[in-house]
Every structure is written in C-alpha cells, then in structure tokens.
Amino acid sequence: MDLEEQLRASLAAPDPGTQFTDAVMARVARAGRRPGGISASGGARRRSRWLTRFIFVGIMAAAGVAAAMLAERLARVPEPPMPAPVSAPGPGVVVTPDATSAPDTRITAGVRPDKPGRIAAPAAPSPASVPAPPPQPVDVPVRFTILLLPLNQQAQDATDKALAETYYAAMIEEFRKVPQLRLLLQNEAAASPGHAADYVVAMTSRDTRDSGVVQILGDIRSAQPQGGYSEATRDLVTDRAPHYSASEKAAEFVQSLLQGPFPLR
C-alpha cells in the first residue's frame, strides 16, 4: 500500500462521542453568551466601564465649567476703592483752586499728579467696560455736632433773599446726608439745651444792592480748648446766575468742612 493511502487510513477522524458534545454545550451555557453577542456579565462590565468613564468625564467637565465661571466672576469684581485719608492730606493731595471755598480733596486724595500743576487723570477703566463703582461714603472717624443758626437775611433784594433761602435749605439737606455729623437747628438746640455743638455755622446774605452782586457767607465758629472761639468765613455765592445749583454748592461746602483741611480743627 502506498504511504499516502496508509496515512489517510490511519488518520481517519475519530468521533469523540456525545460526551464531548455535551461538554461543549455545557461550556457554552456557562459562558452565558448569545452567539456572537455579549455575555450578560461582560455587558455589565462594559456598561460599568462606560458609566465610570462617563461619570469621570462629566465630573471633569463640570469642574472645568465651574473653574471658568469662577475665573470670570473674579475678573469682574472691581478692586475696592482706596479709602480717602481723613487726616491731613499727604503729598499726593492736589488742592482744587477755588477762591470761594476751602480746598476740595474729594476726588484727588491719594492721586499724584503726573505733571506739576495738573491733576492726574484717573486710570482708564478696563476694556471689560466695568461700570465705575459708586462713590463710597467717606469714612470720617470723628463724630461731631453742628449747630446751624437761622439764616441771617441782610439782603434787601427779594431775589437775593430767595436765593439765600434756597442755599440755606440745600445746606441743611447736605448736612443731614452726612452720617458722622449731627445737625442741630436752633429750635432743636433749644429743645435739648444740654447738648453742646462742636461747630456753629451761620449763613448770612449780605446787602449788596450797591455792588450789583449777591453775597452769601458761611461763618463757622468752633470752641477752642484754651477758651474763645475760632471763626472762619467762606463765601458761598457771589453770582446771581451761578453755573452750579444750590445743592451742588452746599455739598461742596459741607465736604470742605468734613475733609479739610478744616480750619477749625
């Protein structure tokens, strides 16, 4: 017999029997698979892995969004304004030249001029067009009482009298806007005689019929520790048709008294 025929005869495939078939089917059943599908346990593991990845990616995305929002919010917070000094002005104080009132340091305190004789412009706002913070109330550590005497109307012209009354009312209103200041009118002072005033302010409208101008003065008196009074007089209005309102001028006057240099302190 030829070798190749002998090989074919000797290599006839033996049937492993039904036990082999049963063993295969048992293993397939244990695997719990559908044909070509995903086993239940395998599917659960894959779903678990995907769920874990999804949760992780979600947490990372949420953290990124939160960080971006926080950064944006921090970028929008304006820096707190530098408190204006209350005491004597430092070298950075630029006094507004005003012949009729005390020097006004409200907006120039702490700002150094870039050139002598000129007031440095405040820093330009950022491109984010952040609205300028509202003006903060000046922190005045001292509290004092001002007694405002009744308007002394020496003016004879009716128009001048009316103008003086307007400025007097505006002065009362501006004094009462200051929380560190207690304003007493004369009738109130009479009602509480035991309360002493630190300053006495008197407003007088002069009779200027011959000069052709109106003149309203503010007299400030302060009791000195060594006795006596310190007095100062300020011109409030010298123009019948001023380019500022009574409220604006009264506010300027009050601020000049509060922030100084205050001649009575």
């Binding site: 017999m1 070798l3 190749e4 002998q6 090989l7 074919r8 005869a9 000797s10 290599l11 006839a12 495939a13 033996p14 049937d15 492993p16 082999f20 078939t21 063993a23 295969v24 089917m25 293993r27 397939v28 059943a29 695997a31 698979r33 559908r34 044909p35 070509g36 599908g37």
Partner: protein, 196 residues
Amino acid sequence: MDSQSAPSSASAAPAPAGEASLLQLAQDGDREAFRQLVIQHQARVFGIALRFTGQRSDAEELAQDVFVKLHAALVRITSAAHLTHWLLRTVSHRAIDRLRQQARQGSRVSLEVLGEDPQALAPESTHDPLAAAQLRRLLLQLQPDARAVMLLRYQEDLDPTDIAAVLEMPLATVKSHLRRSLEWLRAQCAGGQHGS
C-alpha cells in the same frame, strides 16, 4: 487570511444541505442547531487536536475551546464552507501554538503514553493496525507546521492551496512540507521495517 473572510474552496467535503439553515438558526440563538453543528464537525476538530497533542484529554480540551470560540464568533460566519474553514484554521493554529509553547517549556509528547492509550488511537481501518499506529507516532515527531500540513492533507484531504489558505502559509512552503515529511516518513518506515 482573516477569520472573517470566507474561503475560496477550503472545505474538506461539501457542506451538508441543511448546514446553512443550521448555521442560520444557531446564529439566531438556537442552541439545538448549534449542537448539531458541533456534532457535524467535532470529529474533524477533535481528530486534528488529537493528532497534534497525542493525548485525548488535551485534545478534548483544545477542541472544546475551539467550539466555545466558534459560538462567540458565530455571527461572523458567512457560510457553511466558511464555517469549515474557520474550524480547521482555528484548531490548527491553536494546536501549533500549544506545541510551540510546550517546546519552549521543554515538555514533549511521550510516544509511549500515546501507544499505551487505546483511546488515543483512531478506529483502525481494515489495514495493518500496527502500521497505522506507527505512522501516527511518526507524525507526532514532525515539527508543528509540517504536522499541520500533513494532517490537513491526509486527514481533511485538503489540497495544498487550501492548506496554504488555512494555515496562512505560502503554497511553496506547504508543498515543501509535504515533500519533506513524506520522504522522512518513508525513510522511517523503511528503517523500521528493516530494523524490525
């Protein structure tokens, strides 16, 4: 060749007429249909595994692994011929891998064990049973690739082209393995006859 690609003509025998429907049913999840497919192909798969390993227990384990893997890959089988090709390819590669792993570990198949295991022997044909057993022992001494070629050629009756496709081997290499293995077997058989 990829396991998903259907063979050109790599089938040892024409697929039974009902095998295509069995395959379809099995792909749809019919366990009984898959069982029938196992019954139809288990002798061929187990036979190759047995000729490779030389031990029935190892052969059963290897063949079972192949069918379990088939069940997992059943949806990728496109035809009955593809199924046969897939089984032959998978069992051959797994058997070759196992032999190479055993060779690296230094373990070798004991011819004496094979000879003493009556179940390891195939049902003897009407020819000389001693000569058949000797041939099987000699086949176990071939290198894994050459053994795979000889098994596919003389057990599955594949032509060299199909063997090359199943084993992903050049056709010339297949023919070379066939020629050298036959020459070596002839020499061994002649020497044995002379020596006995």
